[in-house]
Amino acid sequence: MSTIVQDRYTDARARFQMLFETRQNRPGSQGSQVLEQYQRKAIGLLETVNFPTRRDEEWKYTSVNRLLQPDYEVGESLPLSKADIGPFLIPGLDCHLFVFVNGIFQESLSDTGSLPAGLTAMDIAGALADEQARPAAEAALNRLLDGKTDAFKLLNAAFSQHGLFIRAARNAAVEKPLYLLHLSASGDKASFHNHMNLVAAEPNSELSVIEGFFELPASEGAYFHNQYTYFHAGDNAHIHHYRLQREGREGFLVSNVEIEQEGGSTYASYALDLGGRLVRNNLRTRLNAPGTTTNYWGAYFAKGEQHIDNHTFIDHAVPHCVSNELYKGIITDRASGVFNGKVLVRKDAQKTNAFQQNNSLVLSDKASMDTKPELEIFADDVRCSHGATIGQLDEGAVFYLRSRGLPDAEARAMLQHAFLAEAAENMKLEAVRLYAEQLVHSKFGE
């Protein structure tokens, strides 16, 4: 790897490096020598990578310029009560609740319950000191730092304060989902929040993880939440991963989710993106052994000046795997959306079934959507398909609804709801699905 000279964002990088040094003396870092080493390594590696520019194919439609402009300080904890977080709890959902405010774990607001026998959830510092957890935690961190990395992942590794290590033990069907709730608020200065999850689902286990990202009501200014989540699905393990997101008007969210799947395992992503100033999701799965199923279900809805970018990747490296992907969304006002769905079917990945579809409604002249399916197929005995549509509402349907007495706005809202609902319908947990619908509903009302 060569060291880079001409980086457009040299200043931004220097500010992050400086922030890291001052951060060292703050309380709240986990005080683990081993973790500290990883963090130092990460900030060191930051020197070797560039922040992406629009010249990078992967970032062609999303500029991080605005995201990197503020002079960030590391987010601080806020005195919140249980009542304050009420609106972000999912009604009727019995779960292990972990609450983070500005990237900092909130013991008093959390309700982790007593963890069942097959479930481990501890901070990464703890995992690195735990004989049973250490191998998996170390492997995940090494993978993150030694593999193909980028500036945001490195920042995450350097700054995450209360990263979580989660493990479903062999054969454990974890009954209650984990709900990892991330609340953000800007401080006097723009604030910077990082959180890392390392999740290991051991063979034959089953686990549901819900991630929620929301802005706290009183917050106004800029903040940047930088998330990294890694899943390892062991043989025949089943992972259900929900992501619900509604950041603030000046909220930036970058989320990197990486999954590796072993034989016969299932990973399903159910995502609802309601945007922020800029949201960039990278969702990447690598299939390591045959017989896996990978489902990506996504819904997005951008209004005002929002920008939502979903980049997904499924790497069919081995034969006999199935992937299904459906992303649907609405872009209106002056908002913009990006969908880039890459599916790579390598030479040996015979009998692959890979389906991908992206449908967007673009509802105003000033709104835009860039969609790019990227199917690269090097095997010959496969079934793959993809499709992308960008359209407006079906005026025939609008007329039909209005001819039954529904006012124009109501008719359009009903059709837009219906459009998004298809992607949310797949959510297995009823309570989460209803909550997601409620979030969508309130966005229509904004």
């Binding site: 039954r404 007495g405 529904l406 109501e410 009903m414 059709l415």
Partner: protein, 254 residues
């Protein structure tokens, strides 16, 4: 109730309705017949407010108001209902939710109290029975994958729920089996009342055995070229349209 005067309508520069005159009074049932492509659906859609059609001349008064000035939803709220020849399929909108929303939207617009969940359920059940529809369809997306007959019944259900003042049925009988035809006709007959009028577009005299019309009109080439009572429908059934076309064409040629 409805006064159409010299109505001319074009779509994409092509004149389709070429001077329609029709008056419908409360309580009356008017049947409109006529060959394919003569403009029957066009007339129905213009009444419902479809915007692709351009009214180039003439006027429509509905309950003393200028109908052409009213929005599509205002018309529905004022009691106009069109049962479509080809109802659109709307994926993702549940039939039950749709029906509930329309009933309350119309009630609200009319200044009546909206129904609560229990009242709504009772109303839905009653009307479903009336049109002989399978209750399971309520859980499905609106019209999506409905059979031809199911779509027509769903239109009749909507009519029964919205209790319009002027109901226009565009070939609701097409594609119905004999039992369905009878049930739908009975539903219409139940709704017949001194203050409600119907315009029934059909190709078949058979329907008019069940729903006996006060007037029968023949629409040809964008004009009503003949009007009569129910016997006219019988005559058309026996003789077809040729004699009418000839008559009309010779008049037009003069």
């Amino acid at each position: 109730m409805l006064k159409i005067k010299n109505l001319k309508v074009a779509i994409e520069e092509k004149e389709i309705l070429r001077g329609i005159n029709l008056e419908v009074k409360p309580g009356e049932v008017h049947a409109i017949m006529g060959p394919n492509g003569s403009g029957k659906s066009t007339l129905a859609n213009v009444l419902a407010g479809r915007e692709e059609y351009e009214v180039t001349e003439g006027s429509i008064l509905y309950q003393g108001q200028d109908l052409l000035e009213m929005e599509v939803d205002e018309r529905a709220q004022a009691g106009i209902f069109l049962a479509f020849q080809y109802p659109v399929e709307i994926p993702g909108v549940s039939t039950a939710n749709f029906l509930k929303s329309t009933v309350n939207a119309v009630r609200k617009a009319q200044g009546r109290e909206e129904l609560n969940a229990a009242q709504m359920l009772r109303l839905l059940r009653e009307k479903i029975r009336m049109v002989g529809m399978d209750e399971k369809l309520l859980q499905r997306s609106l019209n999506e994958g409905f059979s031809g007959g199911e779509k027509k019944r769903s239109e009749m259900l909507q009519m029964a729920l919205l209790e319009p003042k002027l109901a226009i049925l565009d070939e609701t009988d097409s594609g119905l089996d004999i039992d369905a035809l009878r049930i739908v006709s009975e539903a219409v007959n139940q709704l017949r009342s001194p203050d409600r009028a119907f315009i029934i577009v059909t190709h078949y005299q058979r329907l008019l055995n069940y729903i006996v019309p006060d007037f029968v009109h023949v629409l040809y080439n964008g004009r009503i070229v003949k009007s009569g009572d129910k016997s006219l429908a019988l005559q058309l059934e026996e003789q077809g349209y040729d004699w009418i076309k000839e008559e009309a064409d010779s008049v037009a040629a003069v």
